[in-house]
């Protein structure tokens, strides 16, 4: 049995790249997301985009300029320098240049040269002072506090200096910036009282005008005890300062109810901020919060962010289960009782919610002038998610006709157009729907292809769907792979999901569907690049598909049809490593239980097995007595060996596991219980004239009965019955004991003793 386990692993490895042991896809590996936030915000990372790795999975790229982390500050400097210097150049001056470089004449950096101009000197001096303070901005400057006093004293001096500079500044913004430096230093001196004092002196909480106001508030609230009012401040910083959004979010205390916090909010802006924060962190439907925000604040930037977040939720709740049959990634119950029907019912409720969301989008558009180019895409997609697909293609084409310079937007429209076209079709082939060019254009996008394939499958165009599925996950890139489950929740491999079309077809396609596919591929000329792409993988796999067809007929015990299918396979296929290595035992051999006593060193290919089985069955019909018993015994051996317990299980399965045999296939009962084998062993018992042969046949029928009892009582290897229990349950064993009392013990208790019984079988 260990050999078999080893085999199964090797066998699978020979077909495709299996994931490591114990792996099971979840989170971002499963989530369906066509409208990725980074399409809308190309240079931004944000811990609050809807995803399954919130707080931990969002890593800022090294290049902070690209990440947008310092966008607020860079914008300010950019405007200050009258947009004469590029942001890259400003980034260098503000974050990278040394003080010496800032002072150097004839700098190669435009931003530095402009800063050195007379009118900007005050800002240059501020920047030089900020750089002087910079080394002191950290709590762990001196972990063992050997020089702790010196650091604190140095900070104190700088606080005094910056406070003085703030007082002397004629520019209101510089006054705030110097004051902010002082507050930051006090914060790192862990001097909350001074933070609050400085804030009160230089900032007005009721007049928040620039990013600096929010940076200062961000430090001030950290010096305060938790309260509903502090939560309002946190929400304000989160809403208005993306730069501080993540760091300040940890100070939001969830113990206060929304009503408590709303009661503490003093303005519409503050109420809007509270709704914004709640919508930004919720993994549930947030339409209520969106409405709350919209009533109090209609800033486009925030509405877009929240709407995108809601769209991503809807994608997860509707499209993740609709296409992959995995549960939505953030609503998973991890329950075995969730089946496709339950998931599809839940989707209907989520589609209704998507409809409400779409209505709100219309409402907010009627009230506000929203100009971002992504709005039409969001509205169209919301309708698609709501299931209101009528007329969507025309709307998308209208948008595409505008020829936006935003490439990502155009790509999104094109992908959605292709999917919608299939959704609104009667299941025609892709070239008949005129979307073949789009599909070919985005053939490397696994998620997109998978959506197309599943929509075709839902339209019952299984042939075209299989062609599309065969082109998924070809790159071998783990990160881009799509995984999905079958509608009947099959478990034909080591787990209950698929990432490969062949094994998916093994679980879900009928023989007719498979035959149609083979026929289609064989008769379709490669007239176009699209046809070639569509059928290329399946053409390569034709031998495997005929093998699969034969296996499917074997599961139905339609031997002639199975033989016909196996005979379509090129003979060299059976010489493949897998078969050579692991299909080398004789399934007809009488002594198959005791391989050490086996008289046969013969091996068979699949068609040879079926051919011989057909012949033996006809001989059973045509003979009597010991001859009939002999042929029936061999037929039984073969059937028994084509079950979970045998040496030719490859005739009916593609995967064998020591701990799982319930694949959800039509012949599961036969595969696990060996009913055909039992029937033929019983026939051999009845026909055998030799007492020992009859007893042996009955004993092996009893073994098949035992398999059935184990399966019917859901017992696995670890928890089988004792011999006494088994004897009580097993009618055939009781019959054996009754009719052959002297033979029962040696036959049942000791496999080695079977050898002498095998000797009693008479060859015709």
């Amino acid at each position: 049995m260990q050999k078999l386990l080893l085999f199964s692993l090797l066998y699978l490895a020979s077909f495709f790249n299996a994931h490591s042991c114990g792996y099971y896809p979840y989170g971002e590996e499963v989530r369906f997301c066509l409208l990725k936030p980074n399409l809308v915000y190309p240079h931004s990372t944000n811990a609050f985009f809807y995803n399954t790795q919130r707080y931990s999975g969002t890593h800022l790229p090294d290049d902070h300029f690209q990440s947008g982390k310092n966008a607020e500050n860079l914008d300010w400097w950019h405007k200050l320098l009258k947009e004469k210097a590029s942001k890259e150049d400003i980034y260098y001056a503000v974050y990278q240049a040394s003080s010496k470089e800032l002072k150097r004449k004839k700098s190669s950096h435009v931003a530095i040269r402009i800063l050195q101009e007379k009118e900007n000197r005050a800002y240059l001096h501020y920047l030089l002072f900020a750089k002087k303070c910079s080394p002191f901005n950290g709590l762990e400057d001196d972990p063992w506090e050997r020089n702790g006093d010196n650091w604190a004293k140095s900070r104190d001096k700088l606080i005094q200096e910056s406070t003085q500079r703030a007082e002397n500044s004629t520019s209101p913004e510089l006054r705030k910036r110097y004051a902010h430096l002082a507050i930051r230093l006090a914060h790192y001196n862990q001097d909350g009282a001074n933070v609050k004092k400085l804030y009160a002196r230089f900032f007005d909480r009721n007049s928040m005008q620039s990013a600096t106001d929010y940076w200062a508030l961000h430090f001030k609230l950290q010096a305060e005890a938790s309260s509903p009012e502090r939560n309002v401040d946190v929400a304000m910083v989160i809403t208005h300062s993306p730069e501080k959004r993540k760091s300040v979010s940890y100070f939001f205390d969830p113990q206060f109810s929304r009503d408590q916090m709303l009661a503490s909010a003093k303005s519409k802006e503050e109420r809007a901020a509270l709704y914004f924060w709640q919508a930004t962190t919720s993994f549930h439907p947030s339409l209520e919060e969106l409405k709350g925000f919209g009533k109090n604040n209609q800033q486009e930037e925030h509405l877009l962010f929240l709407s995108l977040r809601e769209i991503n939720k809807l994608e997860d709740w509707i499209l993740t289960p609709y296409y992959s049959l995995f549960e939505p990634t953030l609503r998973t119950t991890w329950s075995d009782t969730i089946n496709a029907q339950v998931l599809l019912r839940r989707i209907e409720a989520d589609r209704v919610y998507a409809g409400h969301f779409s209505n709100w989008l219309s409402e907010i558009h009627s009230q506000t002038d929203l100009r971002n180019a992504w709005w039409p895409a969001i509205r169209i997609y919301a309708d698609f998610l709501a299931g209101s697909t009528k007329g969507i293609e025309a709307r998308i084409n209208q948008e595409l006709a505008k020829k936006s310079a935003n490439t990502e937007l155009q790509i999104f429209y094109e992908k959605l157009l292709a999917v919608c076209t299939v959704v609104n079709s009667q299941g025609e082939n892709l070239n008949e729907l005129n979307v073949e060019e789009l599909v070919l254009r985005y053939k490397h996008d696994n998620l997109f292809l998978f959506a197309i394939g599943k929509e075709l499958e839902y339209k019952d165009n299984k042939v075209e769907a299989a062609c599309v599925f065969s082109n998924i996950n070809l790159s071998g890139e783990y990160n881009d792979a799509v995984v999905w489950k079958s509608p009947e929740h099959n478990h034909t491999l080591w787990s209950d999901y698929y990432d490969n079309y062949f094994f998916y077809m093994d679980a879900t396609y009928t023989v007719n569907e498979l035959e149609n596919l083979i026929h289609y591929v064989k008769t379709t000329a490669n007239a176009s690049a699209f046809d070639q792409w569509k059928t290329e993988q399946i053409r390569k796999d034709l031998d495997r598909l005929y093998d699969l067809l034969g296996v499917k007929y074997m599961r139905k015990d339609e031997l002639q049809k199975a033989l016909k299918a196996f005979n379509q396979v090129a003979p060299s296929f059976w010489k493949g490593e897998v078969f050579q290595e692991y299909m080398q035992q004789d399934p007809f051999d009488n002594n198959f239980i005791l391989t050490s006593y086996s008289q046969s060193d013969k091996s068979y290919t699949k068609p040879e097995i079926v051919e011989k089985l057909i012949k033996l069955k006809s001989r059973v019909m045509a003979s009597d007595g010991d001859d009939k018993a002999y042929y029936a015994f061999q037929v039984a051996n073969c059937y028994r060996n084509m079950t979970y317990y045998g040496n030719a299980w490859l005739m009916k399965r593609y995967y064998w596991s020591g701990n799982h045999y319930d694949a959800g296939l039509e012949d599961d009962a036969e595969y696990i219980e060996a009913n055909f084998a039992k029937k033929y062993y019983l026939l051999a018992y009845k026909q055998a004239k030799t007492k020992q042969f009859a007893a042996l046949a009955l004993r092996l029928a009893g073994q098949c009965e035992k398999y059935a009892l184990l399966a019917q009582n859901s017992l696995d290897y670890q928890e089988r019955w004792s011999d006494e229990q088994m004897f009580t349950m097993n009618e055939v064993y009781r019959k054996l004991a009754r009719e052959f009392p002297a033979e029962y013990e040696p036959l049942v208790s000791n496999c080695e003793s079977l050898y002498t019984y095998f000797e009693s079988i008479k060859r015709p």
Binding site: Y24, Y26, G27, T52, R54, Y55, E140, P143, W144, E145, R146, G148, Q190, Y250, P254, Q255, S282, F283, H284, L330, R331, T332, T333, W334
Partner: protein, 352 residues
């Protein structure tokens, strides 16, 4: 129902009292165990009323206060982290403070003598500094420093080197925590080169390997270490747990263990089976964002478990004069798991 509940707890309290009495009276009748408690929070707003009552009523006068933890990384080398940021209030001025430092085992991996020498100096410096700053009301200077480290055979040599250096340089007693494994196998693990050892009778199992068992204190596991153990060659103190922990499993993967301080957290849990619960709504636990459906295994200490543990300990270990019995750890929510009577009985039973 309430009366029955109270009687039940009183009964358990009596059991604990008797057990503790036996523990410290049978071997040596003249011992006077001190009463202690660990203060393990990084941040706290003073000592709550409930905690104050607990300390006062039970005459607990020894506080093992975690000053900071120590870890190692490439940027800072061996450095302190999680420094406690609270001050001892005037009313606890009479308590004996034992600065306690938790050192991660990784600190002692591939660490040179010179680094450990410097570390010992830094450690003593920071303890002294922190004591002056945060414990300014203390009437007596500390006379003991306790080192807590989950050292292994692999780090034993480096750890012991460090302890020897520390002991040589410190002008106070050095104690170290002692897990049950090194307690049972001193020949293999060595004897701590310190003045006394605090036997930690908890965290006996890896939380992940514990299955349905309680990884904080499992009696069967405790017995394995106690039975047949030879007397440890150092004076022993005893630490017993009173905390509750939550093992969090997100997306069916273990994501961490947390002390469960927030009682309201329970209201958001649905019982699944045994000690396993399911989070009902998205929430935050100790800065960890939990999602609906995440699984939580709650491990609690109960009076019954404490009584049984004490019985086992009493049978197998003798404690000397001046020993301390300390509870881990002081927090309002931990105290809620035990009735006032139980705790009072527990300490009252110690010989006077």
């Amino acid at each position: 129902m309430q009366i029955r509940h109270t009687i039940f707890w009183l009964f358990l309290g009596m059991i604990i009292s008797v057990a503790v009495y036996l523990c410290f009276s049978q071997r040596k009748t003249d011992i006077l165990p001190q009463r202690g408690v660990y203060v393990w929070d990084v941040k706290r707003n003073g000592i709550s009323e409930n905690e104050q009552n607990f300390l006062a009523n039970n005459q607990i006068n020894k506080l093992y206060v975690k000053f900071f933890e120590v870890e190692k990384n490439t940027t800072w080398g061996i450095h302190p982290t999680g420094k406690s940021v609270y001050e001892l209030e005037q009313k606890y001025a009479q308590c004996q403070i034992v600065p306690t430092i938790y050192i991660r085992n990784q600190v002692f991996m591939q660490t040179k003598d010179s680094e450990l020498d410097e570390f010992a100096d830094n450690l003593l410096h920071l303890i002294a500094k922190r004591f002056t700053e945060n414990m300014s009301h203390a009437q007596q200077k500390y006379t003991e420093i306790q080192i807590d480290c989950d050292w292994t055979l692999r780090t034993q040599e480096r750890y012991f080197y460090f302890l020897k250096k520390l002991k040589a340089r410190a002008k106070v007693q050095i104690s170290a925590t002692l897990r049950l494994y090194p307690f049972k196998f001193p020949e293999k693990m060595g004897v701590l080169p310190v003045d006394r050892a605090m036997l930690m009778c908890y965290n006996l199992l890896s939380p992940l390997a514990a299955g349905d068992k309680n990884s904080i204190l499992d009696l069967e596991e405790l017995q394995k270490y106690l039975v047949g153990a030879k007397p440890y060659p150092l004076p022993l103190d005893l630490a017993l747990p009173i905390y509750t922990s939550a093992l969090i499993y997100q997306n069916e993967r273990f994501s961490g263990i947390h002390y469960l301080e927030n009682q309201s957290f329970y209201a958001n849990l649905r019982h699944v089976k045994n000690a396993v619960y399911s989070v009902q709504r998205d929430t935050v636990l100790n800065s960890l964002f939990l999602r609906a459906g995440d699984k939580v295994k709650i491990e609690k200490m109960t009076p019954v478990l404490l009584t049984a543990a004490l019985k086992s300990i009493r049978k197998n270990i003798s404690f000397e004069e001046g020993s301390t019995v300390a509870l881990f750890h002081l927090s309002a929510s931990n105290l809620k798991a035990f009735t006032h009577a139980e705790i009072t009985s527990f300490f009252a039973s110690l010989p006077r």
